[in-house]
Symmetry: C2
Subunit: 574 residues, 2 copies
């Protein structure tokens, strides 16, 4: 296993230099506090989370008599995470949380996720479920479910998918029959449920989408239910089994320690649940957390890409071939420059987006921007976290393909992020159809206006990049024009067959923009900086140049793919 | 596990329509014979090889008391392969082989490799070793080693890599001391040896690179030795252990059933070997088979990409979401079009290259062309076989990430092909430095001249593609000019940092060219064709269009990356 390393300077740069504490006053945190929290968090991750990564992958899960037994290696980080208040970080104060700026919370989450993605999914999903319950739950739930979930005694899940209902959630067939006592009897089988069953928690609180009698077809007839693994007595104590059975544990490419379960409700006996949110409003209740869940998917890519990059940085500076460390071989150098620019670009994007959450509630424009950036974070970072991991594997040669350095695990673990929480194709459709066309292009125009201003003010040393970015902005216009024409002509298949390319185009523009802003600030500071600081600022300027010449440049050809797209590509039989 | 399916029409098109039987007369095979052999081979692969794929991945290998035990599932295809003459296919007649055109042999090899890559490596490496022994070995070896290797009683390996000598083969430290009786005593430890030890064969014949006393440093002091696992008595019978010990079995991302071994020579006792080829000529003796071995690496990508595509084609035509088979969703359609164009493009490239082998011995120009196309086949097909597998996984959604349909296995299994037989970075360096610059650009010019002619004669319905290809050919010139300038100025680091991009550029040009020729022929035949034939020819025309608009188009931006490359990218500290 390679050694754990984190580019903490870059995390701090994003938090304390780029995002500043705009709107963070309410948290009463100075730069030093932020750095202090990060330092403690890194210690936790390095000493407790990272060592659990390899054994949890190798040993995986056991499914015995319907119970799921996690690898022993997970118990220490799990206990420490709750006991030392890391789960409470970023949660509301009234339920025992420690509010911090979203970007700081996400930075921490990213560190833990990079170090053991499979483990982090247990508290991660629990947090998502807890947030829904805390926001929409009854007094009973707030009194008796929220506290044990905060303490880590109980966990939580989100149960959407069924065998015939994946991307098409509206096709689900699970039912909820009123029992007359305010509760419902849930029946159905859910698949691909992360953390669906495990001995990390005493009880699991499932959020389950199901249909009540008389509801409409499709998503409109769906409601959300709180269904515990063990029943909860009136005094809040844990009761008998609620007949939620893990009938299958999936065998997966990666995240071997994350329990992906098939769950049967109401098969071996009655599974009772409570309605949460209004009847038939199941989708919107579930979607309360969707922006955050999708951002978090992006973080899974960003986090693993960044750690894979750092571990490779160590390797290429130690491994000797042809009489020198391989970092001195130009092709390896090229890979490292690409990996760093992409990894840091993803970080800048995710933290910028996370920071918008803090200001979102008061501001429609920011909400629109979050809506636009969410599918970008989700799809682009999951895709490129995977790509960086693949390039990290390649840089390790034969050793990368073997499990020795722990690099191939990144490739296997990251891949899932392009699929769940809405596949990347679903993100592309959401991006083009809802976030741009339905919005009349308002949010996109606001964003590109900001980019134009950034490009215009660029330091002269970035002349080449300024020129390229200018061309890309122009081709963004012609491409959007093409898409609008198709929309007006009702040629939706033409749009839908190009939206993955357009999402990719837009994503690279946004990441380049965040790296541009970073490089611009670095250029201002580098003159008076010295030592490590100077080297760091120089590296930020290089990152922007590399990103432009290796990634952004491809926007010119992506634009050509879209604008030259011919109708017969949509019609011929395949 | 998904169902096995093969695009046999496309294999036949390449063999009997595109490559014709130019120069194949010597084999006395008519089109019908070729189709007959393919039909029988497909039966063997479908019934015996493919069913072994999943269990051999799941069960993997056992390492007990230095012995490596393969999964039971491998024994049936292994026996059948040798017993039914499939190993003999394409081998010389004088040792009991059945000579066939190289392109036909490679087509068959590809089918078996796609269906179980990990297994195919055992006879594949044995064949490579056997070819060296048959060409360069002593009479004793031809009499006593070749026959049991032909029958499948014995296997073979190639032992190059050591812990400190990966890409840098010249750094190896294994030694060979003359014993005075014509034999040598071999000492050293080799790593990453495929098929290094297994109970599929009674004896293993290792080809081992080592240093004799007094040899120069680096590759010039290296010789090649034949070192059996068990000694061979004068009468050819198997003798005592030759002290070749499997001291470690690697735990890998994929090809779980392929035994990747650390082998110790001369540690537990003397390991005897014979010199093969001249002393100090070890590298060139080993490299006799290198073009073929590298083409075969490309085939591993091509083969698995093609099977992953076909299995996905079945899935997307059966899986229903939003009330229709998902092939009717435009984004899935886009993926399928991309996967087909890429998979068939790789096949066309590999079979075209294989076919050149048949004419190579008489013709310097063809030898140059093979030299140029070999790193293209190796790097591009290994890279894109992986990419197609990843896209196949994505098209299966959550099911793709689970082992159920056997798709994620393609992703894990193909990845190794970008690394071994010279990493893809090594291929890129070989391509630019040796195959182009050292050759004075002769082979490349000959190739692009052919492409220009092909583009000029294109059917008018491909006007858009003709225009794009024309632009790409122009940018090939400016890009090569840039590289020549760097070469003249001695700026080798500039070249080396761009050669991966240039290899990719050249590869896409060549694949597009092979698809162009296919589309051109399809356009001529489609008018008089009907039924399945008509649909097939139409699909070939679509493939070319899709490849141009989705892949070749990016050559324009790759060219910009290279021509705009700035010197500071080579110098700044990272």
């Amino acid at each position: 296993m390679g050694k754990y390393r984190v580019d903490i300077r870059d995390v701090e740069f994003n938090l304390t230099e780029m995002l500043k504490v705009q709107g963070w006053q309410k948290y009463g945190l100075e730069d030093q506090d932020i750095k202090g929290i990060l330092t403690e968090y890194v210690k936790f991750v390095e000493n407790e989370v990272f060592p659990s990564r390899e054994p949890s992958d190798l040993i995986g899960l056991k499914h015995v008599d319907g119970k799921v037994i996690v690898p022993e290696a997970l118990r220490a980080p799990q206990k420490s995470f709750y006991d030392n208040g890391w789960f409470a970080l970023g949660m509301p104060e009234d339920i025992g949380g420690t509010p911090v700026p979203e970007a700081l919370y996400v930075s921490c989450m990213s560190l833990a996720t990079g170090a053991n993605c499979a483990w982090m999914m247990y508290p991660g999903l629990s947090r998502a479920a807890l947030n829904v319950i805390n926001l929409k739950g009854s007094e009973f739930m707030k009194t008796h479910i929220v506290p044990p979930m905060m303490s880590g005694a109980w966990g939580g899940t989100m149960c959407l998918t069924e065998a015939g209902a994946g991307s098409d959630v509206g096709a689900l067939r699970s039912t909820a029959k009123p029992l007359g006592n305010g509760k419902y009897s849930i029946q159905g089988t859910k698949i691909f449920i992360s953390s669906g069953e495990s001995d990390l928690y005493e009880n699991n609180i499932h959020l389950v989408l199901a249909r009540t009698p008389g509801g409409a077809e499709g998503t409109k007839g769906i409601s959300l239910f709180v269904v515990p693994r063990f029943r909860i007595n009136d005094d809040g104590s844990m009761g008998a089994s609620n007949n939620v059975v893990c009938s299958k544990l999936e065998h997966k490419m990666g995240i071997h320690a994350s329990a992906t379960c098939e769950l049967q409700f109401g098969v071996t006996g009655e599974s009772e649940g409570w309605l949460i949110g209004d009847e038939f409003e199941g989708m919107s209740t579930m979607f309360i957390m969707m922006n955050e869940a999708r951002l978090y998917c992006g973080i899974q890519g960003e986090a693993q890409g960044n750690l894979a990059y750092m571990m490779t940085d160590t390797y290429v500076k130690e491994r000797i071939q042809f009489g020198k460390e391989i970092i001195h071989h130009p092709d390896v150098r090229r890979s490292m420059l690409r990996m760093r620019a992409m990894s840091r670009g993803m970080r800048a994007l995710c933290l910028y987006t996370a920071n918008l959450f803090d200001a979102a509630h008061e501001n429609k424009e920011i909400e629109g921007l979050i809506g636009l950036l969410t599918p970008i974070c989700k799809a682009y970072c999951s895709e490129n976290g995977f790509n960086v991991s693949v390039e990290a594997l390649q840089s390790h040669g034969g050793y990368g393909y073997c499990s020795e350095y722990g690099i191939e695990q990144f490739v296997r673990d990251t891949k899932i992020a392009t699929i769940y929480e809405g596949t990347n194709a679903i993100q592309a459709i959401d991006f083009v159809m809802r976030k741009i066309l339905k919005d009349g292009g308002k949010s996109l125009t606001a964003l590109t206006t900001q980019m134009v201003a950034s490009v215009q003010k660029l330091d002269p040393q970035f002349k080449r990049e300024q020129e390229l970015f200018g061309k890309v902005l122009m081709s963004a216009q012609t491409t959007m024009q093409k898409i609008s024409e198709w929309a007006k002509a009702g040629q939706h298949n033409m749009i839908l067959q190009n939206c993955t390319d357009f999402l990719n185009f837009a994503s690279q523009m946004v990441v380049a923009w965040r790296l541009l802003e970073s490089a611009q600030m670095a250029a201002q500071k580098v003159g008076t900086a010295s030592g490590d600081d100077k080297a760091y600022y120089e590296s930020k300027m290089v990152d922007f140049k590399v990103y432009c010449s290796q990634f952004l440049v491809h926007n010119l050809s992506i634009a050509k793919t879209i604008t030259d797209f011919s109708e017969d590509m949509c019609s011929l039989e395949i």
